[in-house]
Symmetry: C3
Subunit: 266 residues, 3 copies
């Protein structure tokens, strides 16, 4: 079989940097099969990269190796790491980029990249994507042992999503991501929405309940739905919600139940 290696970076595609990574990988393991996830993570946006990586986990088969490089600390003493979770492997900087993947309690094995046999002889201090992470992924795809990469890490850098607050009338969260359609993604997960919803509120706008898909409201109208990441999302049917509502990452998102839980009177 051809082992899959995916690539996720903030390198853009204009300069050929990603192709340099691919050339290195194929040079080490000509059987590797390369799949681009994205190279358009906003430069240095570790959280954005972490959310995209979280989103792809379920779609790839066991054995997939994911290389990801959003790495403002390249060249410094930040560690390089490999992580094994649900039979998939992640390779990149230890800066939180992989910390939102899977459930927080799920077992994962993390090792520091130390074995000099798996990296380029003289890694360029600004391009570990090409000289460290790509070669490590290629060697792993060629059957090298995960344990041989380096020692265990038990204190990886961890990002956390902002907390969702629950109160009798509803939930209180915030915008954590805006996708290319301008859909506004909140931190409110589907499984916390366990009762009928009266409205979702962002800024001075509010929706009429919760919908299942875009076309349930008229073109140009606001709606909320559970998106394909399993998170509450605010969208405009055939429109760009982030622009039309002037919403940005960090803005608050409220959700109101149809009937408040608990009552103030008997």
């Amino acid at each position: 079989m051809h082992p899959i290696i995916t690539l996720t970076t903030d390198f853009g595609t204009a300069d050929g940097f990603v192709a340099q990574m691919k050339g290195r990988i194929i040079g080490i393991n000509p059987r590797a099969r390369l799949v681009d996830v994205t190279h358009d993570i906003e430069p240095y946006a570790i959280m954005g990269g972490a959310l995209v990586l979280r989103g792809i986990l379920e779609s790839f088969p066991p054995g997939t190796i994911h290389v990801a490089v959003v790495d403002p600390g390249v060249g410094s003493n930040r560690r390089g790491m490999v992580m094994r979770l649900r039979d998939q492997v992640f390779v990149g900087p230890d800066n939180g980029l992989f910390s939102l993947i899977g459930n927080a309690e799920e077992p994962r094995e993390i090792r520091e990249i130390r074995n000099p046999l798996y990296v380029s002889p003289d890694p360029h201090p600004t391009f570990h994507g090409r000289d460290v992470f790509a070669p490590v992924a290629a060697h792993l795809s060629a059957g090298k042992d995960f344990d041989s990469i380096g020692p265990l890490i038990d204190d990886p850098v961890v990002l956390s999503l902002p907390e969702v607050h629950s109160y009798p009338q509803g939930l209180d969260g915030e915008v954590i991501y805006i996708d290319q359609f301008g859909n506004v993604v909140s931190n409110i997960p589907a499984d916390t929405i366990d009762r009928p919803v009266a409205a979702v509120i962002v800024g001075e706008y509010s929706t009429d309940g919760l919908n299942r898909f875009f076309g349930q409201v008229e073109e140009g109208r606001l709606l909320a739905l559970i998106n394909s990441f399993g998170l509450l999302e605010i969208a405009v049917n055939r429109g760009n919600a982030a622009e039309e509502l002037e919403v940005a990452i960090g803005d608050r998102v409220g959700l109101l139940w149809k009937e408040a839980s608990g009552g103030v009177a008997p």
Copy 2:
């Protein structure tokens, strides 16, 4: 051999949505060979997608499967479809996206996607690209029978290009597409241009006859030629015609013959 699956969407590449489709395909058929056509169709622009798909038909070998998703009606009751034409297969929403491919009279077989075995168990209502169309394409590439997808459709949604009007002095068409170079593509097909051309007119600008390639006029000068789609195109040598002429989709394009057909006097 490795069956080819191409992907055409309006998802952009920033969010990892396309990678989720690819992961699903490879998970079902590891032998599938993936080729991106574009993910930069303007959001919801079914006509733009239809024109790009029309343009690629001739370049791919028999057996190619094309998945395309420009799908503002996702989740609603619009049908999903597969279409077979000239030994190639197209998979996506039945919204007109595939209706400009090939000649209008050419035979094609269209079926509705109904077989639950070929789609994800619980398709997300906003992401049929990942949960319906990608799996269907993967199963077809793995040898599943076209007929087993679902019942025949005999009334697919059809887009039509605006009509070209012919009159004694010339032709009257309009702008239907603007490419990344800013070249202005009209709906006037090469085979209607059967006489020497005096000028092509768009807005207040006109060309000096018809050229064969860009470099036949000086840098910065306007020209018209038959483009690689077989359509009349207005361009600026080494420039961006759409910007410089302030032309938009829907603007009229006129063509004047050197000698009008028929005469007003004996």
Copy 3:
């Protein structure tokens, strides 16, 4: 094994032009393995393409075939060419696009594309990428003989990088490229920097010496380093140097030694 064919163009990815090239390649040689370098070279920017191609040489294994199309002269009498250098092959227009690859003195064999068996029967005058260069690369990848492409070229079009001037106090160069991060790349090669550096100067800004990686200065601060192409680069840690310094291609870049060579007095 699967021969590698890379693609570098200024076509963008929106219109499906690159996919048409890929379809043609796979149609001729289904075993070819395709790797995108970039399709975002600035339109008609031969120098930009030449620098990106220069950057990828070291990362690809022997036998790789690189197709590159930045081709404002398409359709005119500019020649098509194939070049062999260090066991890699380059296919595209003879307009200087391949002239910065490798060391200037390094042996290379260049031939003109003339053999009609290797190109599409009736190449479209605006799309040699699809009808000439892609098929030639595909045939070469399928084992066709390099010598059979056409006659030797001994006067290829050659671009040259602007010269770096050395004087006792330092070096005087200029900006030749700006990457997607806004890093400002000069024409000053690493091997000319053979002494301690006091400062690198661009416009009214100057750095404090020379660094090795971005994180060695505080966020938002200017620095200079040797980039992964082996050239002197000015950057802002986690920022966009080109925008913040308002620097453009062609602007001068100065470098000052800590101690000037030679002295003015005995």
